[in-house]
């Protein structure tokens, strides 16, 4: 092959050395030290010249030979790295816990984590609010002006969009829920379904702190 011709005197031996080097570098599970390849090569092989030749053979190809410290490895050409990343969209049903949490936030917003837990009767696992925020349906609104200043949660426009609501006031009220058979008619007279608050911030809320968006959970949990 033309690629091997540069080794004037012993082209066959050098070509063989190059093949072996190539195979060793390919099959190795970690970058390979030049000296580690010597036992496989012909006596007196010029390791530097060989690796240099091999690197030039792969220059501009889809795979290139790169140096990592004193070691060498084949790597996908940098401009083709996009091939190694792939975006994939899965549809998954929302868990019951997430669905219930979302429902409470929708009706009772702005609500803190503790308030959600009070309605649910169980604590919320860390992942649940994450999922809802990742889905883009729930956002942190502000902080309640009570001791501990807990974060308040509310729904987003994407929430309205996904559930086909024009406004939060479209959420069915007590009588609608009873009419649809979702609430039994035996609920006590004191039972109320709140009217969700759709505005920016209530009188009882402060804006979020500047660093709130970093890690919502840790802040929130420290207030529990």
């Amino acid at each position: 092959m033309s690629a091997y011709e540069e080794f004037g005197e012993q082209p066959e031996i050098e070509a063989r050395n190059l093949r072996i080097m190539e195979a060793l570098l390919f099959a190795s599970e970690e970058p390979v030290d030049l000296e580690a390849m010597r036992p496989y090569l012909s006596d007196g092989a010029d390791l530097d010249a060989l690796i240099d030749a091999l690197q030039r053979q792969y220059a501009g190809r889809g795979v290139t030979l790169v140096q990592r410290g004193s070691k060498w490895a084949f790597r996908t050409a940098e401009d083709l790295n996009f091939l190694l990343r792939r975006e994939q969209t899965d549809t998954r049903p929302l868990s019951r816990a997430a669905l219930e949490t979302l429902a409470i936030i929708a009706y009772h917003q702005p609500s803190t984590r503790a308030e959600i837990e009070e309605v649910r009767g169980v604590s919320i696992s860390k992942g649940t609010l994450d999922v809802l925020m990742e889905a883009g349906w729930v956002r942190m609104r502000g902080r309640r002006r009570t001791p501990g200043r807990p974060v308040t949660y509310g729904t987003t426009d994407a929430f309205l969009d996904h559930f086909g609501l024009e406004a939060l006031s479209d959420l069915p009220g007590l009588e609608d829920l009873k009419g649809a058979g979702l609430l039994s008619s035996r609920v006590p007279s004191s039972f109320q379904v709140p009217l969700p608050f759709a505005g920016d911030l209530t009188d009882e809320e402060d804006p979020l702190d500047p660093d709130d968006l970093g890690d919502p959970e840790s802040d929130d949990e420290s207030n529990d």
Binding site: F26, F74, E87, T91, I104, V119, V131, F163, S184
Partner: protein, 263 residues
């Protein structure tokens, strides 16, 4: 396998010694065909030229020897022995013209075929293993560059599910919000006091229902009021304070202060 081959290179009579036989467990072979193949190889000829009759006899003799040592033999071996015994008889006895059964020669050809086929597959297996195998002779990329997949979850939920979830958990919360309804029960003593007060000094026959009218109107008190005041009225009768009368089954129960009680 090497072990059994070695054993087979000895002469058969030596196997009669108990110790030897125990080692010649037929389980060492991969079935009766394998055993037959080993025996056929001892004839050191092409499988198509082996003496099937001699092979059959050798197999039957072997099985007999093993059975004498009371070694358990798998059914496969016995089935083969029966078939070979039949083959032997077919080969030795001339065939009638009206015989529909396969001839001895056909059976012999079948056995040869099966032995040849097994040997061919055995050869094929070793030829496969002698190829340059991945991970032994040929290698894949040692440092693969995995494709990292960024997954975007598209969560599915609809308004109905949302509302049902909300209603269900709110309703779950209801019982804790108000006290358990206390059922009113008339104790016997209470019933008696109420009855005595109602009857007063009346000597008119008046039905129990009339006395209790105001209580029986309340659905949740009706049963207990009736039951307790009836019991109480029996108590009053026993004490001689009240008289009871009923004209027919299920007719109103009439009561009055007993005459002469006051006297």
């Amino acid at each position: 396998m090497a072990e059994t081959t070695d054993l087979w290179s000895q002469d058969l009579p030596e196997r009669a010694e108990p110790d030897a036989v125990l080692h010649v467990d037929v389980g060492g072979y991969e079935g009766p065909l394998d055993l037959l193949l080993e025996m056929a190889r001892k004839q050191k000829v092409d499988l198509t030229k082996i003496s099937v009759l001699a092979l059959a006899e050798q197999y039957l003799a072997f099985i007999e020897t093993v059975r004498k040592q009371r070694i358990e033999i798998a059914a496969d071996y016995l089935v083969m022995a029966a078939w070979l015994a039949y083959l032997k008889s077919r080969l030795m006895v001339p065939q009638h013209a009206d015989d529909d059964e396969p001839s001895g020669e056909e059976m012999a050809a079948l056995l040869q075929f099966r032995l040849a086929r097994l040997e061919a597959m055995r050869d094929a297996a070793s030829r496969l293993m002698n190829r340059s195998l991945l991970g032994r002779d040929i290698f894949k990329r040692g440092m693969p560059e995995p494709i990292s997949i960024t997954r975007h979850a598209l969560w599915e939920a609809d308004l109905y599910q949302l509302l049902r979830a909300y209603a269900a958990q709110r309703e779950r919360g209801i019982p804790a919000e108000y006290s358990v309804h206390q059922r009113s029960v008339w104790a016997l003593q209470d019933a008696r006091e109420i009855l005595e007060r109602l009857i007063g000094q009346s000597f008119e026959w008046i039905s129990l229902d009339t006395y209790l009218a105001q209580y029986l109107a309340k659905p949740d008190e009706r049963a207990t009021a009736l039951a307790s005041s009836f019991s109480a009225s029996l108590e009053l009768v026993r004490l001689g304070q009240v008289e009871l009368r009923q004209n027919a089954a299920f007719a109103p129960l009439m009561m009055r202060r007993r005459q002469g009680d006051v006297q």
